[in-house]
Subunit: 253 residues, 2 copies
């Protein structure tokens, strides 16, 4: 897609950290949630990676993704056990020291009695130097923001609360408008003319999503653009194409 | 984890291809499914990436992942529309030509009348040179296997059928045995001693998964190993630790 010079594009990646996703034990629910939220505020999610609880893997992925996109959101690995190594890994990726942060320790003490603030729980207060905390209203242990990286919990409800905290601080771009068209046609019936319309409308992202049910195979088309006028011009062409193909195929309305 | 020399490790990555996942429009169901299947047959899923329908992104991800892992499984982007560019991109990643494959065309003709085999549908028969087809019993359009890369559909039921076709052809490693222990404890209560047990048992992967419900925060521990004896030794130590901590916390059985 060519971008309008007048409309800023803000990009993001998500890094899911955790053996439990790769083993299938936990089914990720964060990728789709974050995707929905970012689309809604006008940030383009461009890449997702899932890596295991291995420091070198996390460091490499954090550095690759933070260099390439405006924002990087990580989920998982910020709890109190030995396999929670996200904060240490992010500190290493940035080349900064990490230590117990007095602000984070104070947050933990709002929910944990001082006598229970053992070595394991204090791991949750270890924050890389220079990071800002991300409040966690559910279980106190904070996430943090360092540079363009936002480190959040893996438990979906906790992550969602952290994302709410973070969103107002983000720079957002022009929102994508979208229209969805149910065609009643098979993908193979519309592929060629639809591709020709796409060529004439490079500023409109034209997707095609097949599905099937007991009546057969069908296609839903999704058109997305930052410019509402361009979107509606392309939409009219696609609707005319669908109408023509349905007439040829003798498919009723 | 240190590996037993006697037990082979076979690794894999998954590459999900599609704007619809990154926009949140479609929630991925393939990652978790493939993870479950690979664990069951003794293949370690080590990394997942999600990339958009952009050729350069697909080529780069295919080449990075196929070089690094024993197997790469891709999902999505093999339909008949202009945004289905996986086959072309994989051909480019391998530096081989791509053309309509007579075997694939014949498969399409088992489900599609010759008069309907238009330019768009013939895209689904375009297969990189040297690839083997992966049968698709649901909608005929095949996936393919080139080198260590398995290219499958994005629609979950179609992908699952293709994975069934592929599985018997894969080299598999020693299966991971696993045990799950519900502790009734919070992660912060067990983090330090659990980490010490992990240090003594490098061949056992010891994970910790917090969750919460209306009664508070709790932790489930998952121990995984390829050697059943090592697993059960570690398990007994962890069970003794949980028992001791529960006694100290005066938590009933």
């Amino acid at each position: 897609m060519k971008d309008d010079a007048s409309k800023e594009i803000v990009t993001a990646a998500v890094l899911v950290i955790g053996d439990e996703i790769l083993s299938g034990r936990t089914k990720d629910k964060n990728i789709g949630y974050i995707a929905d939220v970012l689309v809604a505020v006008g940030i383009d999610l461009r890449e997702v990676r899932v890596v295991p609880d291995i420091e070198a893997e996390i460091v490499a992925a954090v550095n690759a993704l933070r260099a390439r996109y405006d924002y990087l959101f990580t989920t998982g690995g910020i709890g109190p056990t030995h396999d929670d190594i996200t904060a240490e890994s992010v500190a290493k990726a940035f080349g900064v020291p990490i230590a117990v942060d007095p602000r984070a320790r104070a947050l933990l003490l709002t929910r944990i009695a001082e006598k229970d603030l053992n070595e394991a729980r204090l791991r949750m207060a270890r924050i890389p130097q220079g990071a800002e905390l991300i409040l966690n209203k559910i279980s106190a242990a904070p996430g943090f923001n360092l540079g363009n990286v936002f480190v959040m919990a893996g438990i979906p409800t906790v992550m969602q609360g952290m994302l709410d905290e973070v969103l107002p601080t983000l720079r957002t771009g022009a929102k994508l408008e979208s229209v969805t068209l149910d065609t009643g046609l098979r993908e193979g019936d519309l592929g060629t003319p639809y591709g020709e319309i796409q060529k004439r409308h490079p500023d409109v992202m034209m997707g095609s999503y097949p599905f099937f049910n007991e009546k057969g195979f069908f296609t839903r088309l999704v058109l997305r653009a930052r410019d509402a006028t361009k979107l509606s011009v392309a939409q009219r062409e696609v609707e005319a194409m669908v109408e023509r193909l349905r007439t040829e195929k003798k498919i009723g309305a």
